[in-house]
């Protein structure tokens, strides 16, 4: 107990009173526990009026009501609180630290829930201020003169001598003695209503007894209520059978209190310091212009600082733009995202099981009924192109529709069964991953269904109808790697691409449908698909294009006639899509691409997407077809570079056939293998094409029109829209 004396040389004249008072206060706080948030003591609150009050209240029992008032009410109105006034006049508790130490006590009952501090005791904590303000406030400032301050100044005048005088009233009872009886029950009724400006009335002894009994009864109740903070009137805890009074609370040792004080200092300074330092660094970096501009892994330009205008301010764009800009362009963004992803990986474990994040979902598998649809055999017009509207007819007459099913799938050789992949696949991020080490493979699935396939086929049919018999139209939705390598535990994910391609082909009229699944399946064990990227590798493109070449009846040299070039370290998009999986990062693909023998005689002209302006590409080889400098995650851009262009390729081939390709990125890899097959090739991306497609084909003398691309894209709603739009725009 003596440790609680304030140190530092301040000898209070009321030392003993102080000690006694402190003891009494501690005695009152016997059932308190302390909150971790603050070290202030708490009370076990009363039961709530809300639900458990069984006895209906009668007006006579108004006295307990104040207890149930909002605890905070005690505070502001407490300026006419007699206890308050007494405290103010009592200069003893002036050091906030000693106050704290006086009130601290070790938790009494660990079975109690630690209740939050509902601060009645901030009354006491505020005393130094109050005292100060009181003495400073003689001027009746009308604007500021609230009732409270009026009361306070009245009180001050009534109970308190001027500040200049030594603050020792002649006869001074301890607060505890003036306002509490021997049992510790309050003597005065607590009156929070401001309208009653009379002196507080005394609480009769009988009522005090009652209050005590009530408090004891409620203290025994099991459920704690955080709401009720009994007001000053029931600060005392009468005899509680469950928790016997502990007359001498174990005080917090001075050393501990000191340590706590130091820790508070460290905590505040370090945490706030961290925030301020980081804020300052960010500010400086912003001013210096060192914020991130684009994200390689997300393949997009990052947000820019928004332009200011009155309208953008009022619509919220400006302010939201600033917030987005601030977060989007944090320097070191990639590293932070990696750390964040690494942290979230700690949330659980994978025992070869599936990680689902909601973007991948099970789909119903549709099976193409091969016997239901009859298709006509489409004949290929191999005549060279003419620019006149009436083409030379060297066509074979198309045979009448056979009743027996004839697929327009030109692959008539035996269907290769794709073996089941017994590896355990897991979903990371947006993709499926299986395997380890150099065998780690990422897969993306396709959600194309039969209805979309039908619409895709109809879009192509319309092209054929517009172009007429002189142009051969081909449909080539390219399968993704998941068509071959999907682990069996994932077979519910995504739709069966083979069936969907068959369905597309079954709905085509006059259009040659190409299904290269079988051709690729034959070479599944070779590196035909990238493991870390959603594209196929050039070798896979070779086999896929082979199916096209057979259908188009053009020359197609064997793979050995190509020059092989290899680049290591191709880390594709799956690194990002798997949420930065390290397994993928550490096992990038080897990118092997092939240059045709006749590359020296190939020449390319690059046009913009309206086919009106030429431009010089940068970084290509002599032919213009290959960008040999691409490396790392850009390897796939080795062919033809970006997508928003139209490339006209002239080859040494002499069959005078002109191929127009509307493709997405899968088509890029196919082009280098067609330099022996068509005299001229026009490569266009259906997403970046600004003129009318039919006119374009007529203009360039197209004889063969190929729609090639990854099935998940070209056969999606967006893809079908593009294909329809470029035909009519």
């Amino acid at each position: 107990m003596d440790n609680n004396r304030p140190t530092g040389g301040y000898e209070s004249p009321h030392k003993d009173e102080y000690d006694k008072m402190v003891e009494q206060i501690k005695a009152k706080r016997k059932a308190l526990s302390t909150s971790i948030w603050t070290d202030e003591p708490l009370l076990k609150p009363e039961k709530s009026i809300w639900i458990d009050d069984d006895e209906p209240e009668t007006p006579a029992k108004k006295a307990p009501e104040p207890k149930r008032e909002e605890p905070k009410q005690a505070k502001p109105a407490s300026d006419d609180d007699p206890y308050y006034a007494a405290f103010i006049s009592n200069p003893v508790i002036s050091d906030s630290r000693s106050e704290k130490m006086a009130f601290e006590s070790t938790p009494k009952n660990y079975d109690d829930v630690i209740m939050p501090f509902i601060n009645d005791y901030s009354v006491e904590r505020k005393l130094p201020d109050q005292r100060r303000n009181l003495s400073r406030k003689p001027k009746a400032n009308a604007a500021v003169d609230t009732h409270v301050s009026r009361q306070r100044s009245e009180q001050a005048q009534r109970t308190r001598p001027a500040r200049a005088k030594p603050q020792t009233p002649p006869v001074h009872k301890l607060r505890s003695e003036r306002f509490f009886d021997e049992e510790g029950e309050p003597l005065y009724r607590h009156t929070p209503e401001r309208s009653s400006r009379k002196r507080p009335t005394m609480v009769p002894a009988s009522e005090r007894e009652e209050n005590r009994a009530k408090a004891a009864a409620s203290a025994r109740r099991a459920s704690a209520s955080p709401l009720k903070r009994p007001a000053a009137a029931s600060l005392t805890k009468p005899a509680d059978k469950d928790s016997p009074r502990d007359p001498v609370e174990k005080p917090v040792p001075l050393a501990v209190a000191r340590a706590q004080k130091d820790l508070e200092f460290f905590n505040a300074s370090i945490c706030l310091g961290a925030i301020f330092v980081i804020a300052a660094i960010l500010l400086v970096l912003t001013i210096l212009g060192k914020r991130e501009k684009e994200s390689e892994s997300e393949k997009r330009k990052l947000a820019e600082f928004p332009k200011f205008s009155i309208s953008s301010l009022f619509s919220g764009e400006f302010t939201n733009g600033i917030t987005t800009y601030f977060t989007d362009t944090i320097p070191g963004r990639e590293r932070f995202k990696n750390v964040s992803a690494g942290f979230t990986n700690l949330f659980g474990f994978n025992i070869g099981d599936v990680k689902i994040n909601g973007t991948l979902k099970k789909v119903e598998q549709e099976k193409f009924d091969e016997n239901a649809v009859t298709t006509t055999k489409v004949s290929i017009n191999t005549a060279p192109a003419t620019t006149t509207a009436a083409p030379e007819s060297k066509k074979d007459s198309s045979s009448a529709a056979d009743s027996s099913s004839q697929k327009s799938n030109t692959n008539k050789d035996e269907v290769v069964k794709i073996p089941e992949n017994t590896n355990e696949g897991k979903m990371l991020g947006n993709i499926i991953v299986y395997g380890s080490g150099k065998e780690t493979r990422g897969l993306s699935v396709s959600y194309v269904n039969f209805e979309m396939g039908k619409r895709f086929a109809e879009a192509l049919n319309k092209w054929k109808a517009d172009l007429g018999d002189s142009v051969n139209v081909y449909s080539m939705p390219c399968p993704l790697s998941s068509a071959f390598y999907l682990p069996s535990n994932m077979k519910d994910q995504g739709s069966d691409q083979n069936e969907n391609i068959k369905n597309i082909n079954g709905n085509l009229k006059g259009v040659v449908g190409i299904n290269c699944v079988n051709n690729l399946a034959k070479h599944m064990n070779e590196d035909i698909y990238a493991r870390t990227d959603h594209h196929w590798l050039p070798l896979g493109a070779y086999y896929g294009t082979q199916a096209f070449a057979e259908a188009a009846q053009v020359d197609y040299p064997s793979i050995d006639e190509y020059t092989k070039l290899t680049k290591e370290g191709f880390l594709g998009t799956f690194y990002t899509y798997s949420n930065y999986d390290q397994g993928i990062k550490n096992n990038p693909d080897t990118f092997t691409y092939f240059k045709p023998k006749n590359i020296d005689q190939v020449s390319c002209t690059y046009y913009d997407t309206s086919f009106s302006n030429k431009f010089e590409p940068y970084g290509t080889d002599k032919s213009g077809l290959f960008y040999d400098g691409m490396e790392g995650s850009n390897c796939y851009l080795s062919f033809l570079g970006q997508d928003s262009e139209i490339v006209e390729i002239k080859t040494p081939c002499t069959n005078n056939r002109v191929l127009v390709v509307f493709k997405n990125s899968y088509g890029n890899a196919m082009i280098p293998f067609l330099t022996n097959s068509f005299s001229k090739i026009y490569v266009c991306d259906y997403r970046y094409f600004d003129i009318n497609g039919v006119d374009f084909c007529r203009k360039v003398g197209c004889t063969d029109l190929l729609f090639a691309g990854a099935i998940s894209l070209i056969c999606s709603d967006a893809g079908i829209n593009y294909i329809n739009n470029i035909r009519v725009q």
């Binding site: 505020k126 955080p226 508070e264 601030f326 949330f347």
Partner: protein
């Protein structure tokens, strides 16, 4: 602006703190707070900040008028008018669409259904302002004669948007006299960081699992169509944790920030999930709201003073309204009524039995019922709600469990246990019990500081990821 955002934490807050502590005079500090609060609100709602201002002006004058005519019929008149205004504003922004679409459905009309975007925090500050005026009317608090101070109370940015509904009596004194001690700063900043961590690390992560299990309202709860029995239970428990960490995280940040500025708000959440009954749950969950309804709806309706029947009716009314406050949709009202019924059952029928059973049963009973309640809260359309109920009783569309449910569970198992642990006060108690000597206090304290820094950095890094938007070449 929201709290869990890099711009707020690393620009707005330091700037506000720097300007706030640059002066010692309370007038300037209040001015700083008012300006920053208005900017804070206007940042997200550049148009609707005017509703806030207009509302505060109207309430200011009304309170003055009520105070001047205290006790007369005029005061009643002003009180009624101001109530109409405040609740009318809330109705107009929040409930008009719901009201009109229901009228259309019931009466077969086709009146236009206005689509109004809800200004953020309107539910909170309307209730807060109304509580002030009612308290003035009841003569419980002195009227605030200076408009800027009232505006400070209404718009104080820590509690404006999602914070505790602070009563005027709580901070009336602190508007004029407050002091920030070192302890306040230290505990305030700890509280802020804790709240940030709860929101960013726990709530966001748990929320994404829930959306994986159940889907979102925006996509008609697509994923729930293939959910399993265990999946639905798991999801309901997760929703409970999600909303707790989300809401209490914001409340923690609000209380912490208030603390640094010198305000002491009451606790809003006190470990609700260790409750032993539904009654206790509501004493620990969103305390400021339930006390608001108690003081300003339940008691005026008569409370428990007009007989048992009336009490039951009052309870049902109040709880339906409490539910309805949460959102303009029938399922919220059902949620509120669900708890009203449970409270009545506890009070009238099973109260005694419940008190005397084993604690384990009490806890289980409470958690099960609360989780089911959260399921009601989550599914806003009746079809999904019906499906949820069928699922939790064994008839789920996806069977008892499946691969995806199991994987979601194992994939997030540590997170689940950590979150469950943090729903209980075990860690604070542990910390308290360890601080037996200066040495231990120092050690525990240092660990606490390190933990604070860790939470701050990890949360910040996870916040960097919020604008992660890869150009999805697949366009699933």
């Amino acid at each position: 602006m929201i709290f869990a955002d890099l711009f707020f934490v690393y620009f707005f807050l330091p700037l506000c703190l720097a300007l706030y502590f640059a002066t010692k005079k309370i007038r300037y500090r209040n001015l700083v707070l008012v300006v920053f609060s208005l900017v804070f609100y206007a940042w997200g709602e550049p148009k609707w900040v005017f509703i806030l201002l207009i509302s505060s002006v109207i309430n200011y004058f009304a309170a003055l008028a009520i105070d001047k005519n205290a006790g007369t019929g005029k005061a009643k008149l002003f009180m009624a008018l101001v109530t109409v205004w405040d609740l009318g504003v809330l109705f107009a922004f929040k409930y008009i669409g719901f009201f009109m679409s229901n009228i259309d459905n019931w009466f077969g009309l086709s009146l236009p259904v206005p689509k109004i975007t809800l200004p953020i925090g309107i539910s909170f500050y309307t209730f807060q302002t109304l509580s002030y005026v009612i308290d003035v009317y009841r003569q419980k608090v002195p009227v605030q004669k200076e408009y800027p101070k009232l505006l400070l109370y209404i718009s104080l940015f820590p509690q404006l948007v999602a914070g505790p509904i602070v009563r005027y009596s709580t901070i009336a004194n602190e508007i004029d006299h407050r002091k920030t001690t070192l302890k306040d700063v230290s505990e305030g900043i700890s509280r802020i960081i804790l709240g940030l961590g709860k929101k960013v690390i726990l709530a966001n992560s748990v929320g994404s699992i829930v959306t994986a299990l159940f889907g979102k309202a925006a996509d008609d709860y697509a994923a729930a169509a293939s959910s399993t029995v265990l999946g639905n239970w798991y999801g309901a428990v997760l929703i409970a944790m999600w909303y707790y960490f989300d809401f209490s995280g914001y409340s923690d940040m609000a209380i912490g920030m208030g603390r640094i500025f010198g305000f002491h708000f009451d606790e809003n959440f006190v470990y609700p999930y260790i409750c032993k009954s539904i009654t206790e749950f509501w004493r620990r969950w969103h305390i400021s709201l339930s006390t608001w309804f108690r003081d300003y709806v339940y008691i005026p309706l008569g409370g428990n003073r007009k007989g048992k029947t009336r009490q039951c009716i009052n309870i049902m009314i109040v709880w339906s309204l409490t539910g309805f406050w949460h959102g303009a949709s029938w399922n919220f009202m059902i949620w509120g009524a669900y708890f009203g019924v449970l409270l009545l059952i506890e009070k009238l029928l099973i109260g005694k039995w419940l008190e005397n059973t084993k604690p384990f049963i009490q806890h289980l009973y409470a958690i099960v019922l609360v989780s089911i309640g959260w399921g009601i809260f989550y599914f806003e359309d009746f079809k999904s709600l019906g499906r949820f109920f069928k699922s939790i009783f064994g008839f789920a569309p996806g069977g008892f469990t499946d691969l995806s449910t199991n994987s979601l569970f194992t994939q997030n198992i540590w997170l689940f246990f950590a979150a469950a642990l943090l729903c209980t006060p075990i860690i604070p108690k542990l910390k308290k019990s360890l601080c037996v000597s200066a040495g231990w206090t120092k050690a525990v304290g240092m660990a606490g500081i390190a933990l604070n820094l860790g939470i701050l950095f990890i949360s910040s890094m996870m916040l960097v990821n919020t604008t992660n938007n890869p150009f999805l070449y697949f366009k699933f």
